[in-house]
């Protein structure tokens, strides 16, 4: 797989690096590996997304050309030495109550695919999911890749309130709402595991490149 990235300054203090414009495990692995290597630079922040990342830097500290070539050097060395290291991955078990008051859209997802609610749960819990990125709100993990047998479009109109811990589906993605918020994902269950604890030393339960195994518990 040839990886040609696109580097563009999207502001005087941020550089966008696009590695691939697809939802793909290997592209995401490369983005995340690259983001770890960038931490040795004197930069302000990194935003990791599915196939791209954004580097925020202090424009008073760098010359644009020099900064770009430093980033490119790191990129080239990461990609040259890149190999998948799945054995290092952290897998979290997350216990979920499915359906009913916890998963008001489970029936819709089942009906959408013409299968039973039981089938949806079985399919959903049959694989582990990669955390591709966090966003939307602090601690909201975008995970995937869901099987096409249960992938379901978002709600036509977002709900005004989705309870904290709600497990949702949007297309081939799944996610957990860390806090009570508005949201348009199909809610199939809920977990009591806290995703975001702002006052704690380690506020985020899930981190980019972690994996999640959903385990069904009785509701």
């Amino acid at each position: 797989m040839e990886i040609n990235a696109r580097f563009s300054f999207v502001s005087e203090g941020s550089l966008l690096v696009e590695i691939g414009n697809i939802l793909d495990y290997e592209v995401s692995d490369r983005v995340q590996e690259f983001s770890l290597a960038l931490k040795k630079l004197d930069i302000l922040d990194i935003t990791v997304a599915y196939g791209s990342l954004l580097i925020d830097f202090d424009p008073l500290k760098y010359n644009l050309d020099e900064f770009l070539s430093e980033v490119k050097n790191i990129y080239n060395s990461v990609m040259l030495n890149f190999s998948k290291r799945e054995e290092d991955a952290i897998v979290h078990d997350i216990f979920v109550k499915f359906g009913g008051q916890y998963g008001p859209d489970l029936k819709y997802v089942a009906d959408f695919h013409n299968i039973s609610q039981e089938d949806v749960i079985r399919e959903f819990t049959s694989q582990i999911y990669k955390v591709f990125m966090l966003g939307f709100t602090p601690g909201f993990a975008y995970m995937g890749i869901l099987s096409d047998r249960i992938a379901t479009p978002r709600l036509p109109t977002p709900r005004l309130v989705v309870e904290a811990g709600s497990v949702g589906i949007a297309g081939n993605q799944t996610g957990i709402y860390p806090t009570k918020s508005p949201g348009g994902w199909q809610i199939i269950g809920r977990t009591e595991q806290a995703m975001f604890s702002p006052e704690s030393e380690d506020p985020f339960f899930l981190k980019p490149s972690d994996y999640v195994r959903f385990i069904r518990i009785d509701s």
Binding site: S11, G13, D45, A49, L54, P138, P198
Partner: protein
């Protein structure tokens, strides 16, 4: 010796902002912090505080508070007509100098047609415990500041109140009141190349109107002219949302993304407002018209250098003996041009 500030009226939107939340964007946490960090830092520097000590960001006005101990405050940004009430006296507080507050003094921001936001710093900064390495309130996530939200009537916060500030004064080098039609300079955004030539031309030719549902997440814009067909956004695989990104939603209305935005998003971003123009962005008020002007990243960087050095030079230490001479001279000759300064200097002396 701390001082207590009690909110008598919170006004339209008043919120505690301090340092930026740096280093958590990959966990979905935006930088937060003042909408215009250049200008907010001035209020702090006038009091010898650190540039990003927690202060009040006041939008539109209406805020009224009482101080329950002697302390100092300083205001930067738009002149929202702050009035100091002491016993039966009332005086307008000028922007850009430090003011002494006595126990029982009330301050009210009446608002103005000329500008939308100001920052009010307190001696030593507002006492706030940092959450996710910042004191700034992030309302959408209910964290930071006081109770993670905007101020409400009855809130009380403590001020560190540790020093007596020097005689610093802000030279009026910057104009914080926006004109009716504001030009915002932008660089090419993340998906600039994905828009058609026609769409790009339309984007830069048009004026946009600021909508009233704008907030710290984003400034929402609409096309004021019904005759122009708005350019339409499209869905992209969610990618990072830089500060100042102008995203085009599927209904065609642009949003300028600010400090409290989501860190990733699925709308295309046609442009990014340059950092130096956040001085203007912070002052955008509903119904104001704006236009975008494309410049290069190199030019944006020059503007950033310029603004940074201008701000450094706009704060000067004044000598009280010189001020006294100045006041007597300007009063003797009734030089109206200098009247603003004279009033400001008198305030400094009164402390």
């Amino acid at each position: 010796m701390t001082a207590n500030i009690e909110i008598l009226n919170a006004g339209f939107h008043s919120i505690i902002q301090g340092n930026q939340r740096i280093g958590f964007k990959s966990f979905g946490v935006p930088e937060s912090g003042p909408v215009d960090p250049f200008t907010s830092s001035i209020a702090n520097l006038l009091l010898e505080n650190k540039p990003s000590d927690p202060l009040l960001e006041i939008t539109q006005g209406g805020l009224e508070f009482v101080s329950h101990k002697d302390t100092y405050i300083a205001i930067s940004g738009a002149d929202l007509n702050a009035i100091l009430f002491r016993k039966k006296e009332s005086n307008k507080i000028p922007v850009g100098i430090s003011i002494r507050l006595r126990d029982g003094d009330r301050v009210k921001f009446n608002g103005s047609n000329n500008g939308f936001r100001c920052w009010c710093a307190f001696c030593g900064g507002i006492k706030v415990s940092p959450v996710i390495s910042s004191t700034s309130a992030l309302e959408s996530s209910n964290l930071g500041g006081i109770f993670g939200r905007r101020l409400l009537k009855g809130d009380i916060f403590e001020v560190i109140n540790n020093t007596k500030p020097g005689n610093k004064i802000l030279l009026p080098l910057l104009n914080f009141g926006n004109k009716r039609n504001v030009y915002l300079r932008v660089t090419k955004g993340s998906q600039y190349d994905k828009f058609s030539k026609d769409d790009i031309e339309t984007f830069f030719k048009n004026s946009y109107r600021v909508l009233s549902n704008s907030n710290r997440i984003g400034i929402r814009l609409s096309f004021p002219d019904d005759k122009i067909k708005p350019i339409k956004g499209f869905n992209i695989l969610s990618d990072p949302s830089p500060l100042g990104a102008v995203q085009i939603t599927t209904d065609g209305n642009p949003i300028i993304l600010l400090q409290d935005r989501g860190t990733v998003g699925g709308y295309p971003k046609i442009a990014t407002v340059i950092k130096a123009d956040f001085i203007k962005v912070a002052q955008l008020k509903p119904n104001q018209l704006i236009n975008f002007k494309l410049i290069s990243v190199e030019d944006a960087l020059k503007e950033y250098y310029n603004i940074s050095s201008l701000l450094e030079k706009s704060l000067i230490e004044v000598n009280t003996d010189l001020i006294k001479d100045y006041i007597s001279l300007s009063e003797k000759y009734d030089l109206s041009y200098f009247r603003l300064y004279t009033e400001n200097f008198k305030f400094l002396l009164k402390r």
